[in-house]
């Protein structure tokens, strides 16, 4: 059996607010292998987004261990964490989070510029990513000129451009109507089919079914793991 791409072992996350401890995650064990498409589902406040933040190195666990590509990521410096985020993780946010002052092309190019990649290589990667999501013709537009669905496709292209090891999607359809939501889900599905590893947070069981496996969280614990049947 191949080594897991992401491995969480007894991961906990405690928030301290006004001397009150809130256990957002309580002993999470999770393994995701390369090429897998996993959905994390659960009601609001169950810890889905916290888990995604820890997996995406945007936040640090209070306890437990986290291995990414067999590397223990706790104790890394902020700069090393930034480097891993840039090279191995692709983020897709619920509210797209495109930068309004930059064009579609520049938004997609952004993670590559932090990598110090030459401009010609960046161009090829950006064009490839935009073509993949069907937004090549909108490269010069700014986000405010696009619909919500188009903006999310650009966000997906931005996540893909760096050829990350894993795509982390946080409620990617949350701000979209059902038609655009379906289109984005279809896009993720097609990316998965071409080998991308995807971890998606959703509270919509309809979309969770697109994944290979669904992890159900409740009160910061994994309460159920179900492999989705593909018929």
């Amino acid at each position: 059996m191949s080594q897991p791409l992401l491995k969480l072992d007894n991961v906990t996350k405690v928030f301290l607010t006004d001397e009150v401890e809130t256990h957002a995650l309580a002993g999470i064990h999770l393994e995701i292998t390369k090429g897998e498409y996993v959905a994390i589902a659960g009601p609001s406040g169950c810890g889905k987004s916290t888990l995604l933040s820890i997996l995406g190195l945007l936040d640090t666990p209070t306890g437990g261990t986290y291995l990414l590509n067999e590397r223990l990521v706790q104790g890394l410096t902020p700069a090393e964490r930034a480097r891993i985020r840039n090279r191995e993780i692709g983020f897709i946010f619920q509210s797209f989070n495109l930068i309004g002052d930059l064009s579609v092309y520049e938004n997609v190019e952004l993670p590559l510029t932090y990598r110090g990649m030459p401009a010609s290589d960046r161009k090829a990667r950006v064009e490839e990513a935009l073509e993949k999501v069907g937004m090549g013709h909108r490269a010069k537009h700014v986000p405010s000129q696009l619909s919500g669905g188009q903006q999310q496709r650009v966000a997906v292209a931005r996540a893909l451009a760096g050829h990350p090891a894993v795509l982390l999607a946080d409620e990617p359809t949350g701000n979209l109507d059902s038609k655009n939501g379906d289109a984005v889900m279809e896009l993720l599905q097609s990316l998965h089919r071409t080998g991308s590893t995807i971890l998606m947070v959703t509270h919509d069981t309809r979309f969770a079914r697109h994944a290979d496996r669904t992890v159900h969280l409740f009160d910061g614990r994994v309460v159920e793991e179900r492999v989705e049947s593909k018929e």
Binding site: L58, A82, F91, N97, G100, R115
Partner: protein, 805 residues
């Protein structure tokens, strides 16, 4: 009314913002009011005599001799008084000092010898008694005097019975005929008394032409310009030239003519440009301060978007919204203006400390109704201009977008950011212009301070006495007085040298005149040589610290009956005898041929930055005695103690002789530098304020930007940006603002540099080192102002930033 109430309530809700904005405005508006009160009093306000704008000087000029303002002789005055139809009235006057003997120590009184027409020309009347009539000025008439209100109160305890009584002035009985009203002065408040100018038959003759020890003032007829009067004076001069062919040649060569120049215009010519420059500087500081407040208003409006959107949703029109926001701004600016009046009052006190009273009419500066009006107008106009911008911008929001919080912050924030950025660029540009000007003036001042005055001012005390003609009516008596005082001074402990002169450098007084020489060949039609004429004694050279370059200085052998001698300076030698031995050459002055026995170094006469183009000639007091004696005493001890020592030495010889104008020589140089130092100090202060305000602007706009872009920074970090990348991003946006401001500021300065050129000394307005240094310093400080927001941005946790969306 409702808007005003609401405005006060809103401002009270944000005391920090209100305090910063009001204090910024109070400081900037107050500084403007203080400087404007000076500018208004000196350049714009009429003199306190009715229709003073019709008063002109009608003096002589010799442009070919470098004398633009030569005064007037008695025959010239009489010609013009009788012959210039453009004049409604005219007068002639000359400064003098009188010894007022009373019960206490003798008192020196600053007085003016004036023709009786002075008071009619000024249209001023006595408060008590009368002014002069024509009979008072007739030769042989009983001596009369008109007292100033201040002298009347100080010396005679405001006793009205003084009018008609007799006092002793310079050892003569004089009848007091009148007391002028409080507030009257001419030509300035230091004048304490006026005595009639009496012309002897000799003085009104043509022989007197060229003796220009007085000034002429005239009142133009209504609707007549100064140019018309000048043309009439030219016609008179042409007639005189035909009548006096012997003098005509010199007049032509010297460019001699009479000229009518506005009284106010002439008096303030030396400070006009500098005052406007300082006013421009302080106005720039005000604009920068206002831009900062506008920036704060913009930032505050972003936080109030939801409130404004609700108002719009409830039916408020855009006009109503603008009115509401503008009212808030006006309340803020007017409060700043009111406090600014207090700042202006302190500012004027501060200006007095750095030499305001040395400026022409500086003594008149006060917070008068015009300044209240200016301050109010300043607050209103700046409030309208800088309040309209944020009001228009904030009232443009899309209410539906604003009510959806996430969407709202983006668009309004960006628009606000752009506006604030533009304001900061303008602030930096103004600060650069100010810094460049200030740095050049500082360099000029430092360069000037390094100039060698031609003598050694340290350790020298000076004091003046004027011997009355009646008591000291022969040259021998003057010389005897002089010798006795010098002998007494020389014996005092610590005194290393003691001397005297009639006109001391840096004493605001000098005597100049033409001379001839058989050793100076003149081309036909060339003007006669003209130089500064000084009477000195044997001890003067050592006491002042002059350098003898060739030959010798005067000594005890240069007696009244000995061979007449003269010492000249290097300017004269370079001008006429370059490469020759000047010792032994001859100069004719005051009807006597004198042999040059020595050459001394060039001495600055009135300021260190003057061009030394006018030669100085020195004559021994024994051979050319003068009643005006300025004692110069060098000591190895404390200079200040010598003031009373000079008085004691004079009183030991003549107890009735007042001593005045006692001052260390170094102080005289210091005062002469005041006209350059004061603007440098002011520009440095306002430049510093402008720089601090501009830096606060940069800091404010970047802090606002960081707050606005927190989510964006979170996204960038999620995509792999390090803290250093984020800090670089913030710094870059700061640098773009700073760079744009610096470039615009330099362009603005280069466009206006000619305005500064005439105020500089020893440098040019485009001095590359200074032009680089000022913006560089500003840029360094501005970058430091960027660092705090940049560091703040690096501390943003990506997850917190993303949650903040």
């Amino acid at each position: 009314m409702q808007d005003i109430r609401y405005a006060f309530r809103q401002l009270a809700k944000t005391p920090g913002f209100t305090l910063v904005a009001v204090l910024t405005l109070a400081l900037c508006i107050g500084a403007n009011s203080a400087v404007f009160s000076v500018l208004h009093t000196i350049l714009l306000k009429p003199y306190p005599w009715p229709d003073s704008d019709r008063l002109v000087y009608a003096d002589n000029a010799y442009p070919q001799l470098g004398l633009q303002d030569a005064g007037v002789s008695i025959p010239d005055y009489l010609d013009r008084r009788q012959g210039v139809t453009s004049f409604e009235d005219s007068a002639m006057y000359s400064g003098t000092t009188l010894n007022l003997a009373g019960s206490g120590e003798p008192q020196m009184v600053n007085a003016l010898e004036a023709t009786p027409s002075l008071f009619t020309t000024l249209r001023s009347q006595a408060a008590l008694g009368r002014t002069f009539g024509e009979d008072d000025a007739k030769p042989g008439a009983p001596a009369t005097v008109v007292l100033s209100n201040a002298l009347w109160k100080k010396t005679y305890g405001a006793d009205p019975s003084i009018v008609g009584s007799t006092i002793r002035l310079s050892d003569r009985p004089v009848t007091v005929v009148g007391v002028m009203p409080e507030g009257f002065y001419f030509p300035d408040p230091t004048t304490q008394a006026w005595v009639p100018f009496t012309f002897t038959p000799q003085q009104v003759s043509d022989a007197e032409r060229g003796r220009e020890y007085s000034r002429m003032i005239a009142r133009l007829k209504p609707g007549v310009g100064a140019a018309a009067a000048t043309r009439e004076m030219d016609l008179i001069q042409a007639r005189n030239a035909l009548r006096l062919p012997n003098r005509a040649q010199f007049w032509k060569a010297a460019g001699f003519h009479g000229q009518a120049v506005g009284y106010l215009e002439n008096n303030v010519a030396g400070v006009r440009r500098m005052l406007w420059l300082v006013q421009a500087a302080v106005a720039a500081a005000l604009l920068i301060g206002c831009a900062n407040v506008a920036g704060l208003l913009l930032a505050r409006a972003v936080g109030r978007e939801k409130e404004l959107a609700i108002r719009t949703a409830l039916g408020a029109s855009r006009f109503r919204m603008v009115r509401l926001l503008l009212t808030e701004s006006l309340v803020l600016f007017l409060t700043g203006g009111l406090l600014g009046l207090a700042v202006a009052s302190w500012g004027i006190d501060g200006l007095r400390l750095i030499g305001l009273s040395n400026l022409p009419r500086g003594f008149e500066v006060s917070l008068d109704p015009a300044i209240f009006g200016f301050t109010l107008a300043c607050a209103l106009v700046t409030g309208l201009v800088f309040g309209t911008l944020p009001a228009l911008s904030s009232s443009r929001n899309n209410p539906s977008a604003s009510l959806k919080e996430a969407g709202a912050r983006g668009s309004a924030g960006r628009r606000t950011q752009r506006l604030r950025g533009a304001l900061v660029v303008a602030e930096i540009a103004l600060a650069v212009m100010l810094a460049a000007t200030t740095s050049l003036l500082i360099k000029s001042f430092i360069t000037m301070q390094k100039v060698d005055p031609g003598f050694v001012p340290g350790g020298v005390m000076t004091a003046q006495t004027v011997l009355p003609d009646g008591k000291y009516d022969t040259p021998a008596k003057v010389v005897a007085f002089h010798d006795a005082v010098i002998a007494s001074l020389a014996q005092m402990p610590g005194v290393t040298a003691a001397g005297a002169t009639d006109f001391l450098p840096f004493s605001s007084e000098f005597d100049s005149g033409t001379y001839t020489s058989p050793d100076i060949p003149l081309a036909p039609g060339a003007p006669e040589p003209h130089g500064l004429q000084r009477t000195v004694d044997a001890g003067y050279m050592k006491a002042l610290g002059l350098t003898v370059l060739q030959g010798r200085w005067f000594n005890d052998s240069d007696t009244a009956t000995a061979h007449k001698v003269v010492v000249v300076d290097r300017v004269l030698v370079d001008k006429y005898w370059k490469g020759q031995n000047p010792v032994g050459k001859q100069i004719r002055y005051n009807k006597a041929l004198r042999e040059v026995v020595g050459v001394v170094g060039t001495v600055k006469n009135a300021s260190l930055d003057e061009a030394s183009t006018k030669e100085s000639l020195y004559y021994p007091v024994t051979q050319l005695p003068q009643s005006n004696l300025m004692f110069v005493v060098r000591t190895s001890g404390k200079t200040e103690l010598l003031g009373s020592a000079i008085s004691s030495a004079v009183h030991a010889v003549d107890p009735t002789q007042p001593v005045f104008n006692s001052q260390a020589l170094a102080n005289r140089l210091d005062e002469a530098a005041q006209s350059r130092r004061t603007p440098v100090v002011l520009l440095s202060v306002f430049g510093g304020i402008a720089m601090v305000l501009a830096m606060l602007g940069v800091y404010g706009v970047l802090s606002f930007s960081v707050a606005q872009r927190t989510t964006e920074f979170g996204v960038r970090m999620a995509l792999g940006a390090t803290a250093r990348d984020i800090a670089a991003l913030v710094l870059k946006s700061g640098l773009v603002l700073i760079g744009s401001g610096v470039v615009l500021g330099l362009m603005g300065y280069v466009a206006l540099n000619r305005l500064v050129e005439s105020l500089l000394f020893g440098t040019t307005s485009l001095d590359p080192a200074m032009l680089a240094a000022a913006p560089l310093l500003l840029a360094i400080v501005a970058i430091a102002a960027c660092l705090l927001p940049a560091l703040g941005a690096t501390r943003i946790a990506p997850i917190a930033a993303l949650r903040g969306e």
